[in-house]
Symmetry: C2
Subunit: 392 residues, 2 copies
């Protein structure tokens, strides 16, 4: 191995993503937990798991429910194991994963369960938009009427203006991620789309069109972490986390100096690379936070997969396709797999876990050894980046 492992993933699970009628968030989480437990017969959950971190972004708005830690602990059969709800908007589960890493690295918990969930589709779209909108600052951005399609549209226009990025580049990302989603049985959208369909879809907030936006989805994710030296007790094929970087940027959109790049992504990824002892060119595949297509494009640059302003070229050359030099969002991403916001960070870890085990089916990246996940919240105001390595 290249990096010194911080933690090992010894199991993971994911609910079916989509419109899941008649279920609460806790039911979806139980579904992800079940796969996790089923994959790991050596785990005795009540004996082994001593800490739980669960991301959920806006259950207050969508389920009239806060304090979901104990609900998650009970859904996983773990009472009285302590559970903590992590809320960093759409990066909630990415930060739950990081807290799980801290817990096992601290020595206070040998085994931690991490995950995330969001139940969204039962609510009207304006309610969901308003709930998500609370992740912008309440005194200027919210009162000014900014929503997430609006603020990412500002990112897109700034990038187009500075670098000549075109609407086609955004549409190409949508086409790629829809294709990848069609290979993922758990994805919300499993339909291939054409460039023309994407380019001609209705405008949501120019230049972002319908197919530039991720989905309102129900879903949950889960993973079990342990200290590296205990990993083989639970699994013959652990996947190691060798880098964990995190950072914030101002929630106050009006304080940002530059909309074409993310300080949080750059800071978090540099820390993760340093810890893992790798460089961007060493990464075999990445799951990145494509809440909107422009976010994926800017993230190519901020993660160092290409230089500033070169994101359009990268997708145009097909380098981020499954058979490209640096496959991105093989799962379909938030765009096609779906974006149950509080679940996304650990759902990304699940995809990397499957890929590094060689269990990703028709979307398998051949020979993948090093993976990366990138999860941000709000308008990139918080960001968690993890680097993973297959056990040798």
């Amino acid at each position: 191995m290249i990096g010194k492992p911080l933690a090992a993933i010894v199991s993971a699970g994911l609910s079916k993503f989509g419109r899941r009628e008649g279920l609460y968030g806790r039911d979806l989480f139980a579904e992800a937990v079940k796969e996790t437990y089923d994959r790991c017969p050596n785990l005795d959950p009540r004996r082994d798991i001593k800490a739980l971190f669960i991301g959920q972004a806006i259950p207050e708005s969508l389920e009239h429910q806060s304090h979901i830690g104990p609900l998650a602990s009970n859904a996983a059969g773990l009472i009285p194991a302590p559970a903590v709800r992590i809320e960093n908007a759409c990066a909630s589960a990415g930060f739950a994963l990081r807290c799980g890493v801290l817990a096992v690295a601290s020595g206070l918990a040998d085994v931690a369960l991490v995950g995330g969930v969001e139940k969204m589709t039962h609510r009207a779209t304006p309610d969901v938009t308003e709930g998500l909108g609370t992740a912008l600052d309440n005194w200027i951005s919210q009162w000014g009427g900014l929503t997430f399609p609006g603020v990412f549209a500002l990112m897109a226009t700034a990038h187009m203006d500075r670098y000549g990025t075109r609407e086609e580049h955004l549409a190409m990302i949508a086409v790629k991620n829809h294709y990848n989603g069609s290979l993922n049985p758990k994805a919300h959208m499993q339909r291939v789309i054409t460039l023309e369909e994407a380019m001609e879809s209705r405008v949501i907030a120019w230049p972002l069109r319908l197919y530039d936006c991720s989905l309102i989805t129900d879903g949950a994710s889960c993973a079990v972490l342990t200290r590296p030296e205990l990993a083989k007790r639970f699994s013959d094929t652990p996947v190691y986390i060798t880098g964990s970087g995190a950072a914030c940027d101002t929630l106050e959109t009006h304080e940002r100096e530059d909309f074409t790049t993310s300080l949080a992504t750059k800071t978090a990824s540099q820390e993760a690379y340093r810890m893992a002892g790798v460089e961007p060119k060493d990464v075999d595949l990445a799951e990145v936070h494509d809440c909107f297509t422009i976010a994926e494009l800017v993230t190519y640059e901020d993660l160092g997969f290409c230089g500033p302003g070169e994101g359009g070229r990268l997708i145009e050359e097909g380098q981020t396709k499954i058979d490209g030099a640096i496959p991105v969002n093989t799962s379909g991403g938030l765009k096609a797999k779906g974006h149950p916001v509080g679940a996304t960070g650990v759902a990304q870890a699940y995809e990397i876990y499957l890929q590094l085990l060689g269990e990703a089916g028709r979307r398998q990246v051949s020979g993948a050894e090093i993976g990366l996940s990138h999860n941000f919240g709000g308008f990139a105001a918080s960001c968690a980046v993890h680097v993973y390595e297959r056990g040798g």
Copy 2:
């Protein structure tokens, strides 16, 4: 020292608690941060602090704001340091403190800032009650009309029925905590009350009367943690955390077997005692979660300060007064200091910190060396207990 330190508190701060008009939560947090920084001239916040954990329970309901981690990081002048919002209802800050302990113990952050905040008094009481009510399960307790005064009244009637606890016992706790609050310049309530006033105040949910209920308060709390071996770099008088225990119980009130005791308190405190190498009799003072007077009484028993059913006797004998055998809530507690819900856990740590430094003024417990804080969320569905020891 008795315990092996997990972390050191090298500074702490608290905003004035009360009705703080014209401020947002972030402004209150900045006030707590300022005291924290002022107390610790050796700390260079931007250089040293690498992680931030902040508790806030219901900002969505009360400030139309989620994703407060980045707001807190910015208010503390720490961008791009990563901040995580912890939400475990009224135990949010207690769990933020625990996450800070995990972070410094893990080796991934040498110094962590922890804290909590809630801005409440600008909203109408029914809105606050509804927001707080989201910390009960949404499908039976909430729909059934249960609120927190109601569910703690059930705890009180169960305890009265089984053990003969009387309304006077609850009133004695209110009188004690109001007296203590009168000695605390930062307390919301600074007025001494008589037993008759407490006994004759109006019924909120029988047997709980007005003076049995904690306050709707604005406030914020903050502390800086580091690894024990780095403590003297920042402070000549660190206070060490030697035990950190946490646990959950079912959020589903209808699944509980016994309303007269808290599984979460017992589990968390036993873990904290074990780590700290102490027993209940070794504790010199405690801050406990008196959201209602009955909660303090039951907690006496669950922490082992007396046997089951003996809580009434303990307060009747005056043992939990400042000059008693085991002083409890010298700060005034949630009852008189106030209960800005997301701030409470670290506000308790602040009181213990002052007491162990001998800086608690007119409410100082003489010779205090070992302290304990107990913070629970919802109907005791999550609980964090910490044990503190004065540096030798």
